[in-house]
Symmetry: C2
Subunit: 364 residues, 2 copies
């Protein structure tokens, strides 16, 4: 157990934003929510998953929806108090702790704000090891753990409780509600006992995010930054360095869909990368050849400062490094690939781990 | 208090189907559901609203969605047991009785089936005095009574609870859920205390439906049926007798939208009627002139048997009488007309009561 201080929150936000793989929402907004909650209600206890009693109930606190909308539509503040209160009689048990559903600029920060406000500890784990666009895309789904009962609300005060027959149905119904609620919603989801959490989560993701954030913070202070240290910390692969020449986006059904084109510069001159995203970056072609797909992480960082870039912040002319990170090993199982592999997202491709794809093209 | 027997159920289904004003769903399916529940679980008590204790809690049992889909997609049977069970901790009080939300082929029968199965009485009232397409279109909304907490489910077993900030928000969110659930859903909605029910409901609608049904049953046995007796019982106006020459329908957003064209026969030769519907018939033009709009009822009955016709059953060549019935007086208030008048449905028309519109054209 340790307490998370202000510096830690800053670093977690930065690191989680990298793991957001282009999605996960703006870390600046997430950070403000967490920092102001901690300032008002006091620091948050971070528990290792091994410290959660087997019978204790934990639940994720998260936002659902289109990241581009988070930037303009904030939560009211007391949403999660309402959700915890409304869920209580459904769960029939007190909630011991909260945890992040995914690593990302918003959803890594929400549980910190919720934990501070409600005086609960937060668990150092998530259910993706990155961000994914749909809610059934959770390591818990691999093991048949249900997302419901969940509670969902908007900033206007509409509240819903769902109890569904599968996590795919939860996604369909909660997504439709989120669209009506204005393309974003707040939710408490995946109530899970400590016993099951230990077996099925992605462990120590908060600490990992913090280490990534700290590395980026320290590197950004140095002159002539190279990304090698960041690649060392994350086990990542350099894919291309270049300049954004086009970003097309549409917001549809509560998602941001789009494509980013990046033209290589310096050593990568005459190379081009095309990234397809659904909130998160899903597939990347370099010079027409696929070199990374989900569930591996396709991440963009600022060329100078290594600050992670989310898709809603990308603009023409922005200079970036593209790096690819290997996903959590649970995603590389058959069930994992069914849930979040390239075919699920509509690409007629077998999943090949990024380290193999990048090795193939290593001479470039 | 009285018990509803099999004959009563048959008559209520017929009469309510007339009050369904083209919508409300197929009374044959509704009737089968009610009859089989009563056969299995025993007869249902019908209470006058004055017999409901002031502090007793009542709730409507209903289906939401596109009537054309009800014909193919049946409830599983135990939906309302689930809904009552899930709602209990939200309501914090036992449910004393159920009642129909509207008069219509399906929603007049569901509460009978629910009352039989759960051993509850049913109250002789509804909240429309007819059928309407959207759930905020309830006399309760005129008095600011909330539709939530409500519980919603589908035949697959997905369950939701909603607690919203307004009945319009309830409609938006519940409709989106219904669309995901396959265009129909089952719900328990508008929990209301006896005290408020007495002040805001449409009274004795079940008995009224039964009287209409009985009248139609008796008339249909006679040779050379005229509709005058039906007009006398309902205070209705004859608008046109004719033959259906066109019905266009689309199912969109969980509603059936469409237009029916009827060419006059016999005394009405050379006249034509055009009816616009959204589940229910909303506006009628005769020879290009508006002669009836919501909230008044535009109803079609079979030319020979006077059996009420719902829009999903209309076919080319069908011979019908069109009759117009005055709505419950609560709908003719300013708030009532805002909720269900022609402008709400997108027609640039002031509401004029049917008796005035029909008087104007009485010489025809």
């Amino acid at each position: 157990m340790r307490f998370i201080n202000e510096q830690a929150i800053q670093d977690i936000a930065t690191g989680a934003s990298l793991l957001g793989a282009g999605g996960g929402g703006d870390p600046y907004i997430g950070k403000l929510m967490a920092l102001s909650a901690v300032e008002k209600y006091g620091p948050v206890q971070l528990l290792d998953v091994t410290e959660v009693p087997d019978d204790a109930l934990t639940i994720a606190s998260s936002m659902m929806g289109a990241p581009s909308v988070f930037v303009e539509k904030f939560p009211r503040g007391d949403e999660y108090e309402q959700l915890f209160a409304k869920l209580r009689c459904f769960l029939g048990q007190d909630i011991f702790a909260t945890y992040p559903i995914e690593a990302g600029g918003i959803n890594s920060m929400i549980p910190i704000a919720v934990a501070a406000r409600l005086g609960l500890p937060m668990v150092d784990c998530d259910s993706m090891g990155r961000a994914f666009p749909e809610l059934q895309m959770s390591t818990f789904s691999i093991y048949g753990i249900e997302a419901t009962p969940l509670a969902i609300t908007d900033e206007k005060g509409n509240v819903g409780i769902l109890d569904t027959i599968s996590n795919s149905w939860t996604e369909k119904i909660a997504r439709a509600m989120t669209v009506q609620m204005g393309a974003t919603s707040s939710m408490c989801i995946f109530p899970i006992k400590g016993r099951d959490l230990k077996k099925t989560c992605v462990k120590k993701i908060v600490t990992y995010s913090e280490n990534i954030g700290k590395t980026i913070r320290e590197l950004s202070k140095k002159k002539g930054v190279t990304i090698q240290t960041l690649l060392d910390v994350t086990g990542g692969h350099h894919i291309l360095s270049g300049k954004v020449t086009d970003v097309s986006r549409i917001t549809k059904g509560g998602f941001n869909y789009g494509k980013t084109i990046i033209e290589g510069i310096d050593d990568d001159k005459n190379k081009q990368a095309e990234i397809l995203f659904q909130n998160e970056n899903i597939a990347l072609k370099r010079n027409g050849e696929v070199v990374a797909t989900a569930p591996d992480l396709i991440c963009l960082v600022d060329f100078e400062t290594l600050t992670p870039m989310t898709n809603e912040g990308l603009k023409y002319g922005k200079r970036v490094h593209i790096i690819g990170l290997p996903c959590d090993p649970q995603w590389r199982t058959q069930k994992g690939i069914e849930l979040v592999g390239p075919r699920y997202f509509g690409y007629d491709l077998d999943y090949v781990p990024i380290e193999k794809l990048c090795k193939k093209g290593a001479h470039e």
